[in-house]
């Protein structure tokens, strides 16, 4: 099919779907309305389990199975990407070349982003008490921070600071731990992923039972997987060479 044909086909299909979507939006409650049934149920449910951050309560307690699925996607994708980016039969991995080499264009970006990320990382830590969850966010911010070392410095420097294997272990441990804690819930609370740990005083870090533990496991996993992922891409860019190709 030529370009024009393809675009016309898309215009036809997309046009019909767009009309339907616009009509549907008129049937939604107005933007900013106060009708939120699930919210009205989730907030008391979070309070019942002493979880101040309702988002965390939803993620790690009420709908914890979603999070289990999502973080399994995370590990599966990381394993998949690692499998796909492995050096193929006609390639070899070799030591990262040129210790002093820096990537000029990215260096600048790094200098701009570094302080932003650091400030945010600190912010996440400070909010720890008020937002007792945040494994996802925490893991991402930490991983990002670690990689700014690369952007501002060199790949070998990063590699010394950050061997990949411990992060692979961290990632798998996080995901497997989530599964095992969930299974433990079957015997202790009668349901998979039941919140079986003792609850503490509302608003305290350790008040939320399994929520905080699951959140920490997810944090570990997100940190690990982001780093393993990026390192596969770095390896492709820097150290994997076609056999026989000379620099």
């Amino acid at each position: 099919m030529n370009r024009l044909g393809r675009l016309l086909l898309f215009a036809l299909g997309g046009g019909v779907v767009s009309v339907l979507f616009v009509l549907a939006t008129f049937d939604l409650p107005d933007f900013g309305s106060s009708i939120h049934l699930y919210r009205d149920l989730a907030v008391p449910a979070a309070v019942q389990h002493h979880t101040a951050n309702v988002v965390s309560a939803v993620n790690f307690d009420q709908r914890a199975i979603d999070t289990f699925g999502e973080e399994t996607i995370l590990v599966a994708s990381v394993v998949g990407a690692a499998a796909l980016l492995r050096p193929s039969a006609d390639e070899s991995e070799r030591r990262a070349p040129d210790l002093g080499r820096t990537l000029e264009s990215t260096r600048l970006v790094g200098y701009v982003l570094m302080p932003v990320t650091l400030v945010l990382g600190v912010d996440v830590v400070l909010h720890g008490g008020i937002t007792p969850g945040g494994g996802f966010q925490g893991g991402v911010v930490l991983a990002t921070g670690l990689h700014l070392i690369y952007v501002t410095g060199t790949y070998p420097a990063l590699e010394r600071l950050r061997p990949v294997v411990p992060f692979e272990v961290a990632e798998s441990l996080g995901a497997a731990g989530f599964a095992l804690l969930g299974l433990l819930g079957i015997w202790t609370s009668g349901a998979f992923l039941g919140n079986f740990l003792p609850l503490g005083a509302f608003g305290q870090i350790l008040s939320t039972g399994t929520v905080q533990v699951l959140s920490a496991l997810v944090g570990l996993e997100v940190l690990g997987s982001m780093i393993v992922l990026l390192s596969s891409f770095f390896a492709q860019e820097i150290s994997i060479r076609k056999a026989g190709a000379d620099q």
């Binding site: 933007f31 900013g32 951050n53 988002v55 990215t106 982003l113 990320t117 945010l120 996440v124 937002t131 969850g133 945040g134 996802f136 966010q137 991402v140 911010v141 991983a143 990002t144 990689h147 952007v151 982001m226 992922l229 990026l230 891409f233 770095f234 492709q236 860019e237 060479r241 076609k242 026989g244 190709a245 000379d246």
Partner: protein, 87 residues
């Protein structure tokens, strides 16, 4: 709807369009990062600080970085391919 939300939404729409219309592969990482930043602002305005934080790490840093590395790898591989075919 407050004007602020409307403006943030419009900026997101414009930035998204820019990502899709920017053809040069080298520029993908930059436009995507900017798009991510506009989303962060929108999420903050929509009272979703947790989401904004995730988007900040993923949308403005991790994914653009991967895109940049992918484009670089592709250039490198194509250079090597060219070398081999010349020989």
């Amino acid at each position: 709807m407050t004007a602020l939300v409307a403006i943030a939404l419009t900026v997101v729409a414009v930035a998204g369009t820019a990502v899709v219309l920017a053809d040069a592969p080298g520029r993908q990482a930059v436009t995507l990062s900017v798009f991510g930043m506009t989303l962060v602002v929108l999420f903050v305005i929509l009272q979703a600080p947790d989401v904004a934080l995730s988007e900040l790490g993923v949308g403005t840093a991790v994914v653009p970085l991967m895109v940049m590395l992918t484009v670089r790898t592709m250039r490198k591989d194509r250079r090597q391919r060219g070398h081999r075919e010349d020989e």
